[in-house]
Every structure is written in structure tokens, then in C-alpha cells.
Amino acid sequence: VSVGARVSVNMKPATLARFLDGEPRRNIFEVAAEESARTEQTLEEVLRGRLKEWYARRVEFEARAGAGRHFHYGALNVGGMGAPRYGRLCVIDKRPIGTDAPDPVWIAQDSLRGPWFEKAGQPLDWDALRSAVAPCELVSDLVVVKLETLGPSSAALDARICNDEDYLEALSLSPLEVQHVEEIRSESEDDLQERARRALLRDARLDEQLDLALQDRIRTKAAARGIPWRSIPA
């Protein structure tokens, strides 16, 4: 972990396309602030509209944990696809953890799923949250504690540390920038090739053609920036 670990961020293709175009990663608070400046809505109104039922606990979490500053989220990655449930592409930050940057604070699991939120309608359990947090330099210790909690398993270490169901979350105050990308990982390359072949053999619907074009575009953009594209077996 202390040598090979990186912060990774999973994105969907359209988000990755904008990121590779140089559009900065913005969290929901930054997006809402821009929208508020453009419209007559207050920041709170925009956030309530965007987050709806998730507004209260998200604002509470960031207010308590960030003391007024807002986070950019990632995951600890020691190989593999990160947490690809909704972001099928895994973007790896090349900066080694524990150097100058990134400087995340670590949480032992997804901050939205932790027991600090278990009591519905109750305020965030601050003590429970604090017990699951580690500063940047103690990530290896947190991994050991976490693996011990999870118990023995025959699964590969990278998948145990970071998978769809569970991961160590990285909370940074600065977002991932395109010049810091080490590589992009994808586990759908074989599937994409099959889809493209089928589209040529049978008349593909317009939406399928558009999605294939998006997939092609992000690979072209990554190549233009010299970012390696790595296929990970599904």
C-alpha cells in the first residue's frame, strides 16, 4: 500500500470525455454555486433542488467533516477497476500517496454508507465517523485495520481493498486534474468490440451508434493526451 497505492476516481464515459477536454472536476457544491450565480436561486435552493431527499445529510456531513469546505471523492486503489458500479472507467491519479499531493483524508468505507448515518432522521454520529477516519500518512494502518475487520478471504488483495461493495474513501479538498492521470482502466473492451461488430453487421439504433461514438471519442482523447488505456479482464 505504501508504495503502490493510488487514488482512483470512477467516471462514466460522458464525464470522462469532458474531463479529458480539460473541464475541471467540480463537486456538487461548486456546480450549485455556479448555477446560483447564473440564476436568481440561492445556493441552498439549488442544492435542495439537485439533491432533494439527500440534501440534509449531505450538507450535514460536509459541514461537520469539512468545516465549511467541500470534498472531492476518490477511492484507495492498489490495482483493479476501483468501484465501478456507476463509473465504468477507472481513472488513476499518478501521484504517490503520502508525498506532496494528493493529500486525502481516508475513511474506512463509503462515507454515505457508514454506521454514522444509520439512525434515520438522527444527526450524524460524529464519534462513529471519527473512529473510521485516518490522516493521509496512516492509510496503510487503516488498510490493516480494515482487512482485520473483514476477516480472512481468498479474494485478491486489490479487490478486497476496493470493489463495488466496499472501499476506502479518499476525501480531498482539491480535485483530480487531467495532467495527474497515470492511466485509465476499462473492463468493457471485449464487450465494446462485440458491440461495434454487431453494429456493422446489423443496422444499429441511433442511440447505440451515439454511445459507440462516445466510447471511441474518449479513447481518442486519452491517446491524444498520451494517457495509457488499459484493459482489465472483467
Binding site: 467516471m11 462514466k12 464515459p13 460522458a14 464525464t15 463537486n27 456538487i28 433542488g49 439537485r50 439533491l51 432533494k52 439527500w54 449531505r58 471523492y73 458500479r85 456507476y86 463509473g87 465504468r88 463509503d110 454515505l112 454508507r113 473492451e189 471485449d190 465494446l192 468490440q193 462485440e194 458491440r195 461495434a196 461488430r197 453494429a199 456493422l200 453487421l201 446489423r202 444499429a204 439504433r205 441511433l206 442511440d207 447505440e208 451508434q209 451515439l210 454511445d211 459507440l212 461514438a213 462516445l214 466510447q215 471511441d216 479513447r219 484493459s231
Partner: protein, 201 residues
């Protein structure tokens, strides 16, 4: 949102055709090309994460649908509707461009599948796929695969010729020798008002 049993609703969507969906008590992520495998079950916190991190826009009044097919059609409609004319134009060649990125293993799988197509007499699109594969660096580095492509291209031509012959075969069997005789017979049939020599009893 209270849903009628068996109704499914789009909670949020983005312009790339992705959707966050609620079905009774469960949440789903749906994405192009909308196969069963492009539908994933989500927890509430994963929905929250998707809304926080991605460009999903929550629906004010989530539209409901009686079936997954109807819901996916709506997402397809939104996806195509959000695309510019330039994007639609660029999309036409995307499949061929993706094939040019095939790895050696993927190119071999493509060639095996294309050969199967030809074996069942299906030539449509095969030539375009073969041409695209010829541009793939992995194929260009393999004399064996280049030779396979040449062989399959010859098969495409042969199949096309056979199909053309097959289509024209009935006309050729008519053996019309005298166009004037044909015209006379046609006029007689028209005058008679029936193809039958004798009226029905």
C-alpha cells in the same frame, strides 16, 4: 415517490442516455445499449453518490412506465434528442473506428465471427468490418490475419455473385424469345379479362 405496483420510474437521467430508475423499493442504473447486462441494482447510497458525482439531473415529477422496454425507449429518445447534428453524423463511422482498435485476440474473435456470418449466407456489413480490421495495427502485424481477411473478402464477393444469380434466376428461366408475341398475348389476356382460357363453371 409512491409507485403503482409494477410501475417503474426515471428518478434522474443524463444527456448520454444513462438513467437512475426506481422499481417499487429497488433502485437501478440503466445505461446504453440497454441490454439486461446494462442494468445494475443500486443501493440508496449508490444513487446518492451517482447524483453527487455525476451529471444526473433529478426529475421533479419522475415519469413512470409500465415496462422496462418503454422506459428504455424514453431514455433512448432523450439520448438521441440531446445529440447535435454533428454528433449524429460522427456516430455513423464509430463502429468501424472501434474495430480498428481491436487487440490481436479481439481481431481473431472478429474474424471467426465474420466467417460464421458468411457461412450462414449473410454478407451485409461483413466487408465493412473486414476493411476496418485491415486498419487495426494488431492485424497489420499479423500476416496470418491479413491472409484470412483476403480469403474472407473473396468469399464475400463469391456470396454476392451467387445471391445476384439467385435473384435473377426466375426471370432468366422465362426464356422470352419474341417480344412481339409477348405483346400480342398480353393484349389478348387484357381483352379476355381473365388469365383462364375458359370461364369458371
Amino acid at each position: 415517490v409512491a409507485l403503482h405496483p409494477r410501475m417503474i420510474a426515471i428518478l434522474a437521467s443524463s444527456t448520454d442516455g444513462w438513467g437512475l430508475v426506481r422499481e417499487e423499493e429497488g433502485y437501478w442504473l440503466v445505461r446504453p445499449p440497454y441490454r439486461l447486462s446494462d442494468r445494475e441494482s443500486l443501493t440508496v447510497s449508490e444513487v446518492e453518490r451517482a447524483i453527487l458525482e455525476e451529471d444526473f439531473v433529478l426529475e421533479g415529477e419522475p415519469p413512470t412506465f409500465p415496462s422496462w422496454g418503454d422506459l428504455c425507449q424514453e431514455l433512448q429518445r432523450r439520448f438521441v434528442g440531446a445529440a447535435s447534428a454533428a454528433e449524429l453524423e460522427a456516430a455513423k463511422g464509430a463502429a468501424a473506428r472501434i474495430l480498428t482498435r481491436a487487440s490481436e485476440e479481439q481481431a481473431k474473435a472478429h474474424l471467426a465471427a465474420l466467417e460464421q456470418e458468411l457461412m450462414i449466407g449473410q454478407a451485409t456489413g461483413v466487408e465493412a468490418a473486414l476493411v476496418a480490421l485491415l486498419s487495426a495495427p494488431s492485424v497489420q502485424e499479423s500476416p496470418e490475419m491479413v491472409a484470412t481477411i483476403a480469403r474472407l473478402q473473396a468469399q464475400v464477393l463469391e456470396l454476392r455473385t451467387r445471391l445476384r444469380r439467385h435473384v435473377l434466376a426466375p426471370q432468366r428461366s422465362w426464356k422470352v424469345a419474341d417480344e412481339a408475341e409477348v405483346a400480342r398475348t398480353s393484349a389478348a389476356i387484357r381483352g379476355q379479362g381473365t388469365l383462364f382460357r375458359y370461364p369458371a363453371a
